[in-house]
């Protein structure tokens, strides 16, 4: 705060603070309060809004617990988001380690650029690209058959397979960066000390590098998990008939049934239960919130 004042003077500083406050208030807090308030009111014809029937209740929330299908979709969403998170970690950790500790320093900026370029393409386009790649007569099956790895084309877009591929692809970088930062911040002498004391590579990772990276892994995991569970685009484009994502149900309430009240209640349920779930997992792995903030 003092720094800001010293550097930019009182006028600019006030403008910065006002803009930030406006952004938070008008674009984040107010809409959420509006939805939150609405989630406790019944869905009524326009004429009755504000009338005697417009009273606060938990009815919208209870609808979820009374619908076994919605509960099942919710569990799938949590389960597959968790799997997506784990897969992202399995991909990101070796890559982060390579970039931070193995790769030639001169190559690293180029490698990061290569990782970034796909992000410049819109998420819709990328998801469509996967739609094409994964289709029954698409390039992936073509390639695999051409290489003789498989004989008959695989139906990729069945169950949650394609959704998971799409989500991993979309969010893996959100795992990579915090984990990269964590590995990067580890003193290389620690790795060498472990090796010098006789540790094989896997034990060095297990006892020295991974524990050091735990906060980074946790922050990446929370981000990927929350983004996956809240993703609407990827599931809409890549889901098959037998896989539904919880956000699709929220969307149904809001746009097909025009019932924003129940939609809001579902959205808050997703947020609350995911938060509880994440806190539980963090407790199991003994990660503190303050570790992640670092």
């Amino acid at each position: 705060m003092k720094d800001l004042l010293n550097r930019y003077g009182p006028v600019l500083t006030s403008i910065f603070i006002l803009l930030t406050a406006f952004w938070l208030l008008a674009l984040v807090i107010l809409p959420n309060i509006y939805l939150f308030e609405n989630s406790f009111r019944p869905y009524l014809p326009i004429a009755e809004v504000g009338g005697p029937n417009d009273t606060y209740s938990f009815d919208n929330y209870l609808k979820f617990f009374e619908s076994p299908i919605h509960i099942r979709v919710f569990i799938w969403t949590i389960l597959y988001s968790s799997i997506v998170t784990v897969i992202c970690f399995i991909i990101a950790y070796p890559l982060a380690y390579y970039l931070a500790k193995v790769a030639d320093l001169k190559l690293v900026p180029t490698l990061f650029l290569l990782l970034f370029i796909p992000l410049w393409v819109s998420e819709i386009l990328r998801s469509f690209a996967w739609f094409i790649i994964l289709s029954l007569k698409g390039p992936l099956n073509f390639g695999l058959i051409g290489l003789g790895i498989i004989e008959d084309p695989i139906r990729w877009m069945t169950g949650f397979r394609s959704v998971m591929i799409g989500l991993v692809y979309t969010y893996v970088l959100f795992m990579l960066f915090p984990v990269y930062n964590a590995v990067q911040s580890l003193d290389t002498n620690q790795i060498e000390a472990s090796e010098d004391l006789g540790a094989p590579w896997w034990r060095t990772h297990w006892r020295v590098i991974l524990p050091h990276c735990k906060p980074g892994i946790a922050s990446g995991s929370v981000t990927v998990f929350m983004l996956s569970a809240g993703s609407i685009l990827v599931p809409t484009l890549l889901a098959s008939t037998n896989s539904r994502w919880f956000t699709e149900i929220i969307q149904q309430w809001m746009f097909e049934s025009q019932d924003w009240n129940t939609g809001s209640a579902y959205a808050f349920l997703l947020l609350i239960i995911c938060t509880v779930f994440v806190s539980l997992v963090m407790r199991i792995f003994k990660v503190k919130l303050s570790d992640i903030a670092k």
Binding site: D187, N189, Q190, E192, A193, S194, E195, D196, L197, G198, A199, P200, R203, R207, V208, P211, H212
Partner: protein
């Protein structure tokens, strides 16, 4: 167990830069050997090659007679104490020490017992369950030593392990390291840029400059019979005279300088080379009248009382600054600035040496 280490024509290149240049030395089993040299002369690189983290670009490294070329660091019988110690901050002290045993599949109770035994050895008996961050610099130092000893290495490699400590502690740890080395009979290869440390602790010292080994000898020889100008000027204080040899007779020669012509002892490899005269401050005396031989008229400029000795700065007629040190025996008369005296020295203590001096000499 203990093992010797042979460096046979070892070189290390980083790109076109040669950090270590044809180093040859045979370090004996159970020896306390120090590499001494200024920062950047390649000491750490040598240790990293012995421990296996850097590959020599040429030459052979043998430990216990066995070529280490294809042996990974985790298979070598060495233990390295890093310059910054590299203790594991997320493990308690005892797990740090027992890490090498954990790696070897030793069960937990044995590990714990061994860690506590080592903690007693390094005089930290109550630290087992502390966090590394709770320890002071000297305590961390001891934990690092214990952690390295735990794997019972044949060779201990120490990279300036005392440089972060304050003077008192440093001198205490010197003695302690020396004692541990004597007790365990493990070969110690010790790196330092502190000549006092190297001379006080080592059986032999290898003095390095710009990647090259300048001299390997006992501390006494390094100090009394330096092989060249670099070693003489890096180790200890000197009065240095530029000049030239004006005629040699056996081990002695006449040396002509701007301050006068002196009789001095000839060092090795001086024929045809650029030479200087080196004279230790404790080997000169200041007297009222001129001496018969090797006598320079000087004017005292400054006197510093150092406790156990008195350091007297003076200047001769050519403008050269000279230092004399007199032992403080409680009775010595101390000259005053401005006093005109004669500096005399014995030819046996004046050394003619070839080669450049270390950077701290403004002449270089």
């Amino acid at each position: 167990m203990t093992a010797g280490v042979d460096l046979d024509n070892v070189c290390a290149d980083f790109g076109t830069f040669r950090a270590v240049d044809r180093v040859n030395v045979n370090i004996q089993p159970g020896e306390f050997f120090s590499f001494l040299g200024p920062s950047g002369c390649g000491k750490t690189t040598i240790l990293r090659m012995i421990s296996g983290f850097t590959n020599p670009s040429e030459g052979v490294i043998r430990i216990g007679g066995k070529d280490m070329k294809n042996t990974r660091p985790n298979q070598r019988p060495t233990a390295l104490i890093f310059q910054n110690l590299a203790l594991f901050p997320l493990m308690p002290v005892w797990e740090n020490i027992a890490f090498g045993l954990e790696v070897r599949g030793v069960d937990k109770n044995t590990r714990r017992a061994k860690a506590e035994e080592l903690l007693r050895l390094v005089d930290l008996p109550d630290a087992a369950d502390k966090r590394v961050s709770q320890l002071s610099g000297g305590q961390k130092q001891r934990v690092a030593i214990a952690r390295a000893l735990a794997v019972e290495p044949d060779v201990m490699l120490l990279d300036e392990p005392l440089s972060a400590l304050d003077l008192k502690l440093r001198q205490h740890m010197r003695a302690e390291l020396r004692a541990i080395q004597k007790r365990t009979q493990v070969t110690f290869i010790y790196i330092t840029h502190d000549q006092g440390e190297a001379l006080a602790m080592s059986d032999r010292v290898g003095v390095m400059s710009q990647g090259k080994l300048q001299q390997v000898a006992t501390p006494r020889e390094i100090y009394d019979a330096p092989a060249n100008g670099f070693v003489a000027s890096f180790v200890g204080e000197n009065n240095i005279f530029s000049g030239e040899v004006a005629g040699a007779e056996g081990a002695f020669a006449t040396f002509r300088t701007a301050s006068g012509t002196f009789q001095a002892r000839l060092g090795p490899n001086t024929t045809g080379a650029k030479t200087r005269l080196f004279l230790r401050p404790e080997h000169v005396t200041l007297q009222a009248g001129p001496g018969a031989l090797n006598s320079i008229p000087v004017e005292v400029t400054d006197v510093a009382f150092e406790g156990n000795f008195i350091s007297i700065q003076s200047r001769d007629s050519s403008g050269q600054m000279l230092v004399a040190e007199a032992r403080n025996d409680g009775a010595a008369t101390v000259p005053k600035p401005g006093e005109k005296l004669h500096m005399v020295f014995d030819p046996a203590h004046a050394l003619i040496l070839a080669g450049d001096t270390a950077a701290k000499d403004p002449d270089a």
